[in-house]
């Protein structure tokens, strides 16, 4: 079985932990509980003919008090940058994180998740923002951990990039 380390990154309170909880344990809680440190979950999936074991690293969100350690990115095969559609700041943090990873690790599989699409009437992320993300060349997926919308697609979108082309059939 192919084992891959993937990280969820983003500003604090964008819903990284909720997305993982929804994906791994099929759970969702409305309450915001901040993450300190790193929590690792495992999920086994199949992409085409390949069995894949994802080690999903839930890394505490970025803010003035918490920075992601470079060591956390070691051995990374892919990452999901989570943006809270209702917060402009989370978009800026996402771009900065993506840039940082590109600088530190080069081109790595990635997906941008526009989370909280259940609150779309409050979104400040507009077409221009989405276009900016799309131009970076990675999938952009709207998600809601609350409604279980786009969550599977988001992880599969990343997983497909991790499996060699000839094993996808």
């Amino acid at each position: 079985m192919l084992q891959k380390k993937v990280c969820l990154l983003g500003a604090f309170s964008v819903g990284k932990t909720s997305l993982i909880q929804r994906y791994v344990n099929k759970l969702f809680s409305e309450k915001y509980l901040t993450t300190v440190g790193v929590k690792i979950d495992k999920k086994q999936i199949t992409v085409g003919a390949t069995d894949l074991s994802l080690m999903v690293w839930d890394i505490a969100g970025e803010d003035d008090f918490t920075n992601i350690r470079s060591a956390h990115l070691r051995g990374l095969s892919g990452y999901i940058v989570v943006i809270d559609g209702t917060r402009q700041n989370s978009f800026n943090v996402a771009l900065a994180l993506h840039e940082r990873i590109k600088t530190e690790l080069g081109e790595v599989a990635a997906v941008f998740a526009l989370n909280k699409c259940d609150l779309k009437d409050q979104w400040v992320i507009n077409r221009e923002h989405i276009r900016t993300l799309a131009q970076l060349g990675y999938p952009v997926i709207e998600t809601s951990a609350k409604l279980d919308q786009g969550v599977e697609e988001m992880f599969m979108g990343l997983a497909r990039q991790l499996v060699p082309e000839n094993s996808k059939a």
């Binding site: 901040t34 440190g37 803010d63 008090f65 700041n89 077409r127 989405i130 276009r131």
Partner: protein, 359 residues
């Protein structure tokens, strides 16, 4: 380890390990119950591969290796990670390594209450940061709303004169956009850029006070008519002055001065060079460009190359030569505006799908 130190370790939930030659870790203090649950997976051999038991440590081992090889005695922390114990509870753990008395040492601590307190503090800080972000976003949203209304009012005002002199709505929009591109290139801040985008299109608003027989005359104006026509600068300025609204103040400056010339031969005041407000100097350039390259009821559109050559001749006499140079360097952006903002162009729907936006 003596009993005294052992009991300290137990009380602070800390276990000390030393690393042997094979890279396995051997406990050298009593093992707390919570740790047994994790170590038992590797059997009762007395030494353990901690990076295998705690995958988080795999990313730390490279730094640890360097630290041990450098024989550094100060502790190096792994950072905090969370494990789930046999009761499905979250256990916050942290490892520290150091080199002590010829031994490679790893301390593993279950942070317990300290973590809970830190977490609670951080939660409070982040909750207030979220509230602050929300408030800032709300202020920004409302400011944008006000700005949008100001813009709508400005466009409505401009449309009053447009109806009479047959200037098109697209021309009005383009003037604002060209001016904004110039302002951005000059390093103006976002608010100032927005202000000129809305203010520049109002430059001819004073034409509302010019009689139809002069404004709509198709032939050449005689001296008397031209003198009346010139009044549109002062009429516009007096219409727009007298408020504390930055857009209207800039619009008044532009309306009054957009027929001033760099060499001082313009009107109404004959201002020279940089005495002419920069907002007006910008507007003069973009207005001439747009008027030349577009068709009007009384003239054909001029090919861009010809228009630019004419404008270059005007630089230093009629137009600010520095701004003209900048305008030429921004031509690709200006062309995009010229080609995209037409009478036919429509605003795209807000309901455009994600796929369509990403396509």
């Amino acid at each position: 380890m003596n009993r005294f130190l052992s009991s300290i370790c137990r009380n602070i939930n800390l276990t000390a390990f030393t690393r042997d030659a094979s890279g396995q870790f051997k406990p050298c203090s009593d093992m707390p119950d919570w740790l047994v649950f994790f170590l038992v997976k590797q059997g009762d051999t007395g030494s353990y591969n901690l990076a295998e038991i705690f995958p988080y440590l795999s990313c730390f081992m490279e730094d640890a290796e360097q630290h041990w090889q450098a024989k550094r005695s100060e502790p190096l922390s792994s950072g905090i990670w969370i494990e789930i114990d046999e009761l499905e509870r979250e256990l916050p753990l942290e490892a520290s390594i150091m080199y002590l008395e010829g031994q490679e040492v790893l301390l593993l601590q279950q942070l317990g209450e300290k973590y809970t307190q830190d977490l609670s503090r951080l939660q409070q800080v982040r909750n207030s940061l979220l509230t602050q972000e929300m408030l800032e976003s709300e202020v920004q949203r409302r400011t944008l709303e006000i700005r949008k209304r100001e813009e709508e009012i400005a466009i409505k005002l401009v449309s009053l004169t447009s109806l009479r002199d047959e200037e098109t709505g697209a021309h009005v929009r383009r003037i604002g956009l060209y001016a904004a591109v110039m302002a951005k290139a000059l390093g103006w801040n976002a608010e100032e850029i927005d202000t000129i985008r809305v203010a520049a299109p109002m430059h001819d608003i004073g034409k509302i006070g010019i009689p139809d027989r002069i404004l709509r005359k198709t032939g050449v104006l005689n001296d008397e008519e031209f003198n009346v026509m010139k009044k549109h600068t002062e009429i516009g300025a007096s219409m727009l002055r007298g408020t504390k609204i930055p857009i209207l103040n800039m619009a008044a400056d532009i309306a009054l001065n957009h027929h001033e010339r760099w060499d001082g031969s313009g009107y109404p005041q004959g201002l020279l060079g940089e005495k002419i407000p920069i907002s007006a100097r910008i507007t003069t350039i973009v207005d001439i460009y747009d008027a030349l390259v577009h068709e009007r009821v009384y003239k054909m559109a001029m090919p861009e190359e010809e228009a630019l050559s004419l404008m270059q001749e005007m630089a230093g006499r009629h137009l600010d030569p520095h701004l003209m140079k900048m305008f030429l360097s921004l031509l690709p952006a200006m062309r995009r505006i010229r080609l995209e903002v037409t009478e036919e162009s429509e605003e795209p729907s807000e309901e455009e799908s994600l796929e369509a936006v990403c396509a």
